[in-house]
């Protein structure tokens, strides 16, 4: 199943878009017209349709099978949400058309904000961040702005980050000039308040803590940690990547967080789309609320309006994250999800997600090894590779062998604090029947590995659009775009 590249099948003169040439006119380009060819191939519409349909057939998606990628929350993407996002009143409005012509769009943003603030028990929300990592940046900028407002900008420049954190956490902190101080991992998978206290001091600006954490556990000392952080004059940034486990079960504001980004594409099921676009609104506590970036929405005499520049002294926005108002398309999808589920459905979804993960855990516990002991997890279950010792099979091999069984692999080698980590997140979208088949497949593979059937693993995948790909070669001699093969180029001249 090899599909040629568009550059191999397209022609410069071919087009799949019919346009009439404009009548003759005098251009006003100041003599900067392009003279050279661009080098873009065109395809007629039938050719393009087939090319992309065939490409899609080489992909795996939630709609085609269980997608247990831990930390990524591959839940069902309802098509109602897609339909709503395509209503011309949402998809066909410009960010800078008069505010009087987009009241409904502001209403969507305001309603989404109300839901997010209610679900988290916080004070306000900055909607504009374009993805989770962008949300982290937003939250940390708000913290930095607050620290500077207190005149501590020069002294508070350390951020505590547990070793188990997503890489985006330290990267974000470093990006805006913080120094990262790691919080070491413990063998129970939890961050301990005592460890945190030891690292606290007048130089600490914030902690970045993921909760539920990347080991699939709810941080059971989170309230104490928050108190210690606040007592030290620092802020609590919560990585909300795993908020989906506790929506309707606990409110981060009640746990003491000051800022938390919410991945609308995870928790509220806007589609991942092969890597984006995401959306990462950030909820903020009362302490950080004044520093929220522009733009934001306020009500003036009951009419929603958009604030694109700060106007009065109670607002001290730290700046602007992006050109316009963030990911409207995702707001619509997320709000549609929330209206559909309701408070009861969202709570049930969290419970089912946790139930599904624990069902997998309980069903594999006799064969797989759990790094932090046999105890309940949240929405994802973490195994390590201790059980594969001496089998000659690695976590990578095991993952690739899952492909041959018709499954997308789980997240592997993350979190880094666990050796050969396998992080499985089934989400609430899977039926029990689906989980039972998945469990049976994993048990069969595990038995096979233990029996020493290494070929099944080392050569996997055998039944996929491609066999295992050479990633080393790709990185060593990067080929990042198509270039016309030399012989053909010569022949053409």
């Amino acid at each position: 199943q090899i599909e040629p590249l568009i550059f191999e099948i397209g022609h410069h003169e071919t087009t799949g878009v019919d346009l009439d040439e404009p009548e003759a006119f005098t251009p006003r380009l100041g003599g900067l017209e392009r003279k050279e060819a661009i080098g873009l191939p065109g395809l007629s519409e039938p050719e393009a349709m087939r090319h992309y349909v065939r490409l899609s057939q080489m992909n795996y998606g939630i709609d085609t099978g269980l997608f247990p990628l831990g930390s990524c929350t591959m839940k069902h993407n309802a098509r109602l949400n897609e339909r709503m996002a395509r209503l011309p009143g949402f998809s066909d409005v410009h960010p800078l058309q008069p505010v009087s012509t987009v009241r409904g769009a502001l209403e969507v943003m305001d309603e989404l904000s109300r839901y997010l603030v209610t679900l988290t028990n916080t004070t306000t929300v900055a909607l504009s961040p374009k993805a989770g990592a962008h949300g982290e940046l937003c939250g940390m900028m708000a913290i930095k702005a607050a620290i500077e407002a207190k005149g501590e900008g020069k002294t508070r420049n350390v951020v505590l980050v547990p070793d188990s954190a997503h890489g985006t956490n330290p990267a974000t902190a470093a990006l805006i000039g913080f120094t990262v101080r790691p919080v070491p991992a413990r063998d129970d998978g939890w961050v301990h308040v005592d460890d945190v206290k030891k690292l606290l001091g007048p130089d600490v600006a914030a902690i970045m803590l993921t909760n539920p954490n990347t080991c699939g556990l709810f941080e059971n000392q989170v309230v104490e940690i928050a108190k210690a952080i606040h007592d030290a004059g620092a802020y609590f940034y919560c990585d909300g990547a795993n908020f989906n486990a506790i929506v309707g079960k606990a409110r981060p504001g009640d746990l003491g967080i000051d800022a938390m980004h919410i991945n609308l594409h995870k928790t509220f099921s806007t589609p991942h789309g092969g890597g984006g676009p995401g959306s990462g609104p950030v909820v903020l506590s009362a302490r950080l609320a004044p520093f929220a970036p522009v733009p934001f929405i306020t009500a003036e005499n009951g009419v929603l309006t958009l604030v694109e520049q700060a106007k009065d002294a109670t607002e001290q926005p730290f700046g602007r994250m992006t050109a316009f108002h963030g990911q409207m398309g995702m707001y619509v999808r997320a709000l549609t999800y929330m209206l559909s589920h309701g408070s009861d459905g969202m709570k049930q979804a969290s419970e089912d997600a946790v139930l599904n993960a624990n069902y997998i855990r309980a069903s594999l516990a006799d064969l797989f090894s759990q790094p932090f002991g046999d105890k309940p997890c949240m929405h994802e279950v973490l195994f390590d590779d201790a059980w594969l010792k001496d089998t000659g099979v690695t976590t990578l091999d095991f993952a690739k062998a899952m492909i041959d069984e018709g499954y997308h692999p789980m997240t592997m080698y993350f979190p880094l604090v666990v050796h050969g980590a396998m992080l499985i997140e089934p989400t609430e979208s899977e039926s029990k029947a689906s989980l039972d088949l998945f469990i049976a497949a994993l048990r069969d593979l595990a038995m096979s590995a233990k029996k020493g059937e290494t070929e099944r693993f080392s050569g996997a995948p055998y039944h996929a659009p491609r066999r295992r790909l050479d990633e080393t070669r790709a990185a060593r001699t990067p080929v990042l775009k198509w270039t016309k093969p030399a012989p053909f180029a010569e022949a053409a001249e």
Partner: protein, 446 residues
């Protein structure tokens, strides 16, 4: 609930296998005083019909671009996107897939990213492009950070023709990272002396063309001066369609080219999601932020594609990463690359010519209205007019008459004394009737 497959019987059997009595036993780590006992005070679940009604009611309060004569631009543009594009990006295998971490079952995503990178490199006239950024503005911020890494300097010079929101994004990021920014004054007629700002302390010069006021800018002299001083030229565009007609930034000497790709394949969406395009020279590739897709082979020797050079990225390098970014604008890239493939070189050039022709027609017609002065000598599909009255007021009154006339400069640059300036864009969607309606309404209002 329609989205939740478990039945109560299932739940009971599953709890039994787990060996707990209730689902709350699984939430035991949540402090009991924090664990919510009842659903929050938000509405209960709703059926599709009801949700559709609520959302449609809100949608109906907005005025869609297609429903009126529409001339709003300033960084986002109304274009026609073929039906094929939206159909294809909704294919389950594209829409519901993840970042292609398992390349063997993600060749669809990876191949289109490789094709996308090649298209963007060609369009911008650069060696390499990444697999997209969030949008043009954040991409510009990343470009400045990249220039700082490459030059090991920390001062950026921003042209007064750079979109004010892009300026804000760069300044916010720079302020937080304690980097320096020299933002030149708004430059309506492209007469600023950028060269004077360039010295050996400068990391990069950021210039937009066509600039926010619509002027087409020649970058060659700026590139030369920057290179003489060891600085980089970052060329920015907010209307990618212009690259169909204008010399590529690469051919004019840009070191990094970054811009907004929304116009190809993507809807207006009230500002997002969009797709940031980002390209540079080969020598800087390891300092480039964002995802990259590269060609390789599989165990059978068949061509295949993988994400590559990820050692630059946050999940490996953590606080030493080139950027904290860990997604791209996947589906928006896909829309871009499909639309671009449908257009092809011939189609893109023709479409760009139509845009320019429509803008020229509109400029000539507006110039004939009393109280309107077209300021631009050069432009692509957007230009600036000076009105006899404050532009914000005029736009509001035209909106009441059913014409969305453009962006008042005062909205982007409040307090800059440019209140009578209006940015007006015209694309292939505008008809003679649209223009006539605009002119007629304007005559009434001015």
């Amino acid at each position: 609930m329609r989205y939740l497959p478990l039945t109560d019987t299932d739940r009971g059997e599953m709890l039994a296998r787990i060996g707990v009595n209730t689902v709350d036993d699984l939430f035991a780590d949540i402090p009991s005083n924090v664990l919510l006992k009842a659903p929050l005070d938000l509405p209960r679940r709703k059926g599709e019909l009801e949700v559709e009604r609520i959302m449609s009611r809100m949608a109906a309060k907005n005025v869609p671009a297609s429903s009126v004569p529409f001339f709003v631009g300033a960084g986002a543009y109304k274009h026609h996107v073929p039906a094929t594009v939206d159909h294809l990006i909704q294919r389950s295998e594209f829409l519901t897939s993840y970042t292609p971490y398992q390349p063997e079952i993600a060749q669809g995503t990876l191949q289109y990213l490789f094709e996308f990178q090649t298209q963007v490199a060609a369009l911008t006239g650069m060696d390499v492009a990444n697999a997209s950024m969030y949008d043009g503005s954040t991409g510009t911020g990343e470009a400045v950070l990249m220039a700082h890494r490459v030059t090991k300097r920390r001062k950026a010079v921003l042209s007064g023709g750079l979109h004010p929101h892009y300026v804000d994004v760069v300044q916010t990021l720079s302020k937080m990272a304690s980097d320096d920014v020299v933002a030149l004054a708004p430059d309506v007629s492209a007469t600023e002396d950028l060269l004077a700002s360039i010295d050996d302390s400068v990391s990069c010069v950021v210039v937009q063309t066509p600039d926010v006021f619509g002027n087409v800018r020649d970058l060659k002299a700026i590139a030369d001066k920057a290179h003489q001083h060891g600085a980089l030229l970052i060329a920015v565009f907010t209307e990618v369609m212009s690259l169909g007609l204008l010399q590529s930034p690469g051919s004019m000497g840009a070191d990094i080219v970054v811009g907004e790709g929304q116009s190809i394949g993507n809807a207006l969406n009230f500002g997002g999601p969009y797709v940031g395009l980002f390209a540079t020279q080969s020598k800087y590739v390891r300092q480039m932020p964002g995802r990259l897709c590269g060609e390789t082979a599989d165990a059978d020797g068949n061509r295949g594609f993988v994400l590559t050079l990820s050692t630059r990225e946050q999940h490996i390098r953590r606080d030493k990463a080139t950027s904290n970014i860990c997604t791209n604008s996947g589906l928006c890239c896909l829309a871009f690359t499909i639309h671009m493939t449908l257009l092809g070189e011939a189609g893109l050039k023709r479409l760009a010519r139509i845009n320019h022709a429509n803008a020229v027609k509109l400029a000539d017609q507006l110039a004939g209205v009393k109280g309107v002065e077209v300021l631009n000598q050069t432009f692509f599909n957007e230009f600036t007019v000076m009105l006899a009255k404050p532009a914000a007021e005029v736009v509001e009154r035209l909106a009441e008459k059913g014409v969305l006339a453009g962006v008042p400069v005062s909205r982007l640059l409040p307090g800059a004394g440019l209140d009578r300036l209006l940015l007006v864009a015209s694309t292939e969607v505008n008809t003679d009737d649209d223009r006539a309606a605009f002119v007629a309404a304007l005559k009434e209002v001015l």
